[in-house]
């Protein structure tokens, strides 16, 4: 499997990463190298092998339904570039 320059630009756009045409050109062989490397896994016959969810035998841990966090608005908002009346402020997003 390999990707073309359009796919590189699309992935960048979906990831909200600004990539110039020159950068995209440079990324293309890099990404294809990575894909080629990962693709080697396809050479192993895994028919009949259960997918591995975790490398150590572990069960999903669940919580009790209790309120243990919250009421730390100042902390939560402290990294926000803009805030207003306890809200995060973001560039207007409306269709």
């Amino acid at each position: 499997m390999s990707v073309d320059i359009e796919t590189v630009k699309k992935i960048a756009r979906l990831s909200r990463i600004a990539v110039s045409d020159a950068e995209a050109e440079a990324l293309l062989p890099e990404l294809n190298n990575i894909l080629g490397w990962v693709e080697q896994l396809g050479e192993v016959d895994v028919s009949g092998v259960e997918p591995t969810a975790a490398v150590i035998p572990n069960r999903l841990r669940l919580r009790e339904d209790e309120v243990t966090h919250g009421d730390r608005r100042e902390d939560v908002l402290s990294n926000a570039p803009a805030r207003e009346d306890g809200f995060f402020g973001v560039p207007k997003v409306i269709e």
Partner: protein, 491 residues
């Protein structure tokens, strides 16, 4: 299952509408799906946000057992297959209401598989057709935050209190064929969720909202291309969306156009849907299994505990009211639609009332009085216990049904127990045959001409004598006894 006869009239003939719904139901829980912050509605913005919800680096999600339990219970309530193995996936997209940059959902292995809901198309008519609506799946996922666009000229405001709250997405099959059926399906689903206690079904607060998939076709033909109208938050709007979209699509096709598979928004002010005109990228979610979360593996014993914890559900309750309690089909349907109503009715029975008269009284007298005062059942000034006492007084002949209406009015005003009102106001019904016979004798003596007419064959004068007797006794005579004694005296 009879087919729906709902049709859209087009220039080229009749069209049928095909509807499928994705209902998002907020799971009732104290804390969020993957964090310990509170879910309570209506608090100060961003006060119910943990570092997990704010997607701070290094934070790890830990699922809330109660949310899993409620999803399983809901699945069992719609006779669905429960998947003992399910897992969470990331649905990737960027939006200001989603700090993680992905929503944790279940695409590949949902927790609940196929089920069905039986829906009475017209809830007011127990003889109307019943449709079986297929449920494809229920999966558990996170809600996003709330955006406000009208508070600032250049900024949108973000409140993350709702971000990370657990939702069930309940996906139906495209089994509905009219706005009425779609509305009845959502009502029935809401009723079941409330019985189960897995969602409060409050559409105004957004605890329940629907994505509405609509397509049109000529009856009997293949499905057409569908549109999806997002986030519809009332049953009335849902029906408007179906009507509007069906009409729009028929007109579009008949004018030579084609329906685009797209996401649309409903504008309640105009009663219209419009295209969201998003870039095609919006649907490129690049799902993959969430590496932060191990699969959810459910033990049989856990599923059985969930099953055992279910209350009697509306369909079973309705059948029992009809078959075992002898309540009419209509009354049984209305009483069981809401769990609150059924609970109230059963409390009245628990306090000793007989089912049939109690059901009639509840639906006519009590509901009438509450409607008039704009009160909910929970706000009723008369308790179930008092209602049973009132019904008991009618049943044992202490007061007539007519007098009971007056007593009930006084109960509503004063909150006094009915026996006290009857005693104080001297409303007790006269059943003593001697006293009634004496009055009847007076009435007949005063109306000798009418007695002669009656005996001459004018049967309908009987009502006149009943009326005169009741009047003479200020309405307090036992009507049954009056009837019997009058018959004896006249015939």
């Amino acid at each position: 299952m009879t087919e729906s006869n709902y049709r859209i009239q087009g220039a080229t003939g009749e069209w049928e509408v095909v509807i499928g719904l994705e209902v998002h139901a907020q799971i009732t829980s104290q804390s969020k799906l993957f964090s310990g912050s509170a879910t309570e509605f209506g608090n100060e913005p961003n006060t119910q946000v943990s570092l997990v919800d704010a997607a701070m680096p290094g934070m790890l999600p830990v699922p809330n057992m109660e949310c899993i339990r409620q999803a399983v219970r809901t699945g069992l309530a719609i006779n669905a297959a429960i998947n003992s193995y399910s897992r969470f996936d990331r649905k990737n997209y960027f939006y200001a209401d989603l700090p993680q940059g992905y929503q944790i959902s279940q695409l590949y292995h949902p927790i609940v598989g196929e089920g069905t809901i039986e829906v009475q198309v017209d809830e007011k008519d127990p003889d109307s057709p019943v449709r079986s609506i297929g449920i494809e799946r229920i999966h558990v996922e996170q809600d996003a935050g709330k955006l406000m666009h009208d508070q600032h000229p250049t900024m949108s405001y973000v409140d993350l209190n709702r971000c990370g709250v657990a939702l069930m997405e309940i996906v139906s099959r495209p089994d509905m064929r009219s706005p009425g059926e779609a509305g009845a399906y959502v009502k029935k689903l809401r009723s079941i969720l409330r019985y189960v206690g897995s969602c409060d079904g409050n559409m105004e607060q957004g605890s329940m909202r629907a994505d509405v998939n609509v397509s049109v076709r000529k009856p009997g033909e293949e499905f057409g291309t569908r549109t999806e109208t997002k986030n519809v938050n009332s049953i009335r709007f849902l029906q408007q969306v179906v009507e509007y979209e069906a009409r729009r699509q028929v007109d579009l096709i008949e004018d030579g156009g084609t329906v685009e598979q797209e996401t649309r928004l409903f504008d309640p002010n105009k009663g219209e849907t419009r295209s969201m005109r998003s870039k095609e990228d919006a649907h490129d979610y690049r799902y993959f299994p969430d590496p932060d979360l191990l699969p959810v593996e459910l033990e049989d014993s856990f599923i059985e505990e969930c099953r055992a914890s279910l209350p009697e559900l509306p369909d079973a309750k309705r059948a029992r009211y009809e078959k075992e309690l002898g309540v009419s089909a209509y009354n049984a349907a209305v009483l069981t639609a809401d769990k609150e109503t059924a609970d109230w009715f059963e409390a009245v029975l628990g306090a000793g009332a007989k089912p049939k008269p109690a059901s009639n009284w509840l639906l006519s007298e009590l509901f009438g009085a509450l409607n008039k005062r704009d009160l909910t059942l929970a706000e009723s000034p008369v308790s179930a216990q008092q209602a049973a006492e009132l019904l008991g007084l009618i049943d044992d002949g202490t007061i007539s049904g007519k007098i009971a209406k007056d007593v009930f009015e006084i109960m509503l005003e004063t909150g006094d127990p009915p026996a006290k009102i009857v005693e104080e106001k001297g409303l007790k019904q006269e059943s003593d045959t001697g006293a009634i016979e004496a009055v009847i004798a007076e009435v007949l003596a005063a109306n000798e001409d009418k007695v002669a007419e009656y005996r001459g064959g004018k049967d309908r004068l009987f009502g006149f004598f009943v009326g005169q007797t009741m009047k003479a006794m200020q309405g307090k005579a036992n009507p049954k006894v009056v009837n019997e004694l009058l018959k004896k005296a006249l015939d």
